[in-house]
C-alpha cells in the first residue's frame, strides 16, 4: 500500500533566498509536515505564515534549552510563528526544523502547530507550539525572514487520511 507519508514538494536552494512558499497545497491529506535542513546567510530568525496572512492572528509558546539553559518565550498576538528562538540559523552550523499542522483543511477550527528546531552542534533544542486563530483551510505556507544559504532543503509532506 502507499506510504502514509507522501512527499508533496521539495525545494533545494540553488542560491541564497529570503524564503520559500509552498502554494496550492492539496487539500486531500489529514496533516502536513514541513522539514527544513540547512543554514542561514548570517544570523537569521525565520518564521512562518499561512495563506500569506500577515495580521496578528498567530501565537506561539517556545520551550528551549540553549547550551543547557532552559527558558520560555510566548506571544499570543504575533504576525507569524517563529521557527527558531535562541537557536537561530547561522552561516556555520546546520539547523533542523520540523513542524506539523494537524487537520489543516478544517475550515471550522483554528490551527495548531507543533514544531521543533535543533542546532545540535551547538547544543540548542527548541519546541515551539503555535496557533493560527483564523478558521480557514491552509493552502499556502510562507517561510520567510531569511536569507537561507544555497543548499538548504525544504520538504513538504502530506500525511494520508
Amino acid at each position: 500500500m502507499a506510504n502514509v507519508y507522501e512527499l508533496i514538494d521539495e525545494v533545494t536552494l540553488g542560491s541564497q533566498a529570503s524564503g520559500v512558499t509552498f502554494s496550492s497545497i492539496p487539500q486531500t491529506y489529514a496533516d502536513i509536515i514541513v522539514s527544513i535542513v540547512g543554514k542561514g546567510s548570517g544570523n537569521i530568525y525565520p518564521d512562518v505564515r499561512f495563506n500569506n496572512v500577515s495580521a496578528s492572528t498567530y501565537g506561539y509558546l517556545v520551550t528551549y534549552s540553549a547550551v543547557g539553559n532552559v527558558g520560555s518565550q510566548a506571544s499570543y498576538n504575533s504576525g507569524a510563528i517563529p521557527l527558531t528562538w535562541t537557536g537561530n540559523f547561522n552561516s556555520t552550523q546546520t539547523n533542523v526544523v520540523n513542524f506539523r499542522i494537524n487537520d489543516y483543511t478544517n475550515a471550522n477550527t483554528g490551527k495548531g502547530v507543533l514544531s521543533y528546531n535543533l542546532r545540535p552542534r551547538d547544543g540548542y533544542v527548541e519546541w515551539i507550539a503555535g496557533g493560527f486563530y483564523t478558521s480557514q483551510a491552509i493552502n499556502e505556507i510562507n517561510i520567510q525572514n531569511g536569507p537561507f544559504q544555497a543548499g538548504t532543503r525544504f520538504l513538504l509532506w502530506g500525511v494520508s487520511k
Partner: protein, 188 residues
C-alpha cells in the same frame, strides 16, 4: 455516548513491507460530544504504533488531562513530563491507575482550538518488556492561554498492547465533537 471500535481489520497491511512505512490502522472522529474513544483488537504485526490526535475537552473550566488506559488495565502507570505554561517545569507520577496527558484545551480556549497531540508507542506487541509512551502536544490561543507538554510514560505490564481507551474521566468531561484520533502502524 461512547465510541468503541472493536475487531479492527488489518486489511491495509497486506501489501506492506516497505521499511519504516506508516500504515493507517484506524481513525475515529467524534460526531457530537462523546465520553470516550476506544480502539480494540489492535493488529500485532507492526513494529511500533503512532497515534495522532486533534482534540479538545468539553470541560467548562480550565484545561483537562486526557486519560489513557491500555487493555482495560488500571494499574502500573508511571509518567513524567516537561511542560511550559509560561515557564518551564516538570513533574512525575508513579504507579497510577492511568496514563495522564495534561493540558488538553477546554473552556479556557476558544472553541475552535483543538490541540495537536502525537503519541509514539514502541515495541507494543512484545511480551518481554514494559510498554513505553512518548507524547507531545502544544497549543496557543488569541486570549493568551497556552500549553506545551513533552511526556514519557511507562505501563508496568508485559502483555502485548491490544486495546486503548481515551477519555476525560478524571473530570467527567467529554471529548468534544470534531476531535479526531488516528492509529498508525509502523513497519520496519
Amino acid at each position: 455516548m461512547s465510541f468503541t471500535l472493536l475487531g479492527i481489520l488489518n486489511s491495509q497491511a497486506a501489501g506492506g513491507g516497505a521499511a519504516e512505512a506508516y500504515e493507517l490502522i484506524s481513525t475515529q472522529t467524534a460526531v457530537g460530544n462523546v465520553s470516550s474513544i476506544s480502539f480494540g483488537s489492535i493488529p500485532q504485526d507492526y513494529k511500533h504504533l503512532q497515534i495522532r490526535v486533534s482534540i479538545r475537552s468539553t470541560r467548562n473550566s480550565g484545561d483537562d488531562p486526557l486519560i489513557i488506559n491500555f487493555n482495560g488495565s488500571s494499574t502500573g502507570y508511571s509518567y513524567g513530563n516537561l511542560y511550559n505554561l509560561s515557564s518551564v517545569n516538570g513533574t512525575e507520577q508513579i504507579n497510577r491507575t492511568y496514563f495522564s496527558i495534561p493540558y488538553i484545551p477546554g473552556a479556557q480556549a476558544p472553541n475552535t482550538i483543538f490541540t495537536p497531540l502525537v503519541l509514539d508507542i514502541a515495541d507494543y506487541s512484545k511480551t518481554n518488556k514494559f510498554t513505553t509512551v512518548l507524547a507531545k502536544l502544544g497549543w496557543v490561543t488569541g486570549n493568551n492561554y497556552k500549553a506545551f507538554n513533552f511526556e514519557g510514560g511507562q505501563w508496568d505490564n508485559t502483555n502485548a498492547l491490544t486495546s486503548i481507551n481515551f477519555d476525560f474521566s478524571l473530570t467527567g468531561s467529554n471529548i468534544q465533537g470534531g476531535s479526531v484520533i488516528s492509529i498508525y502502524g509502523v513497519r520496519g
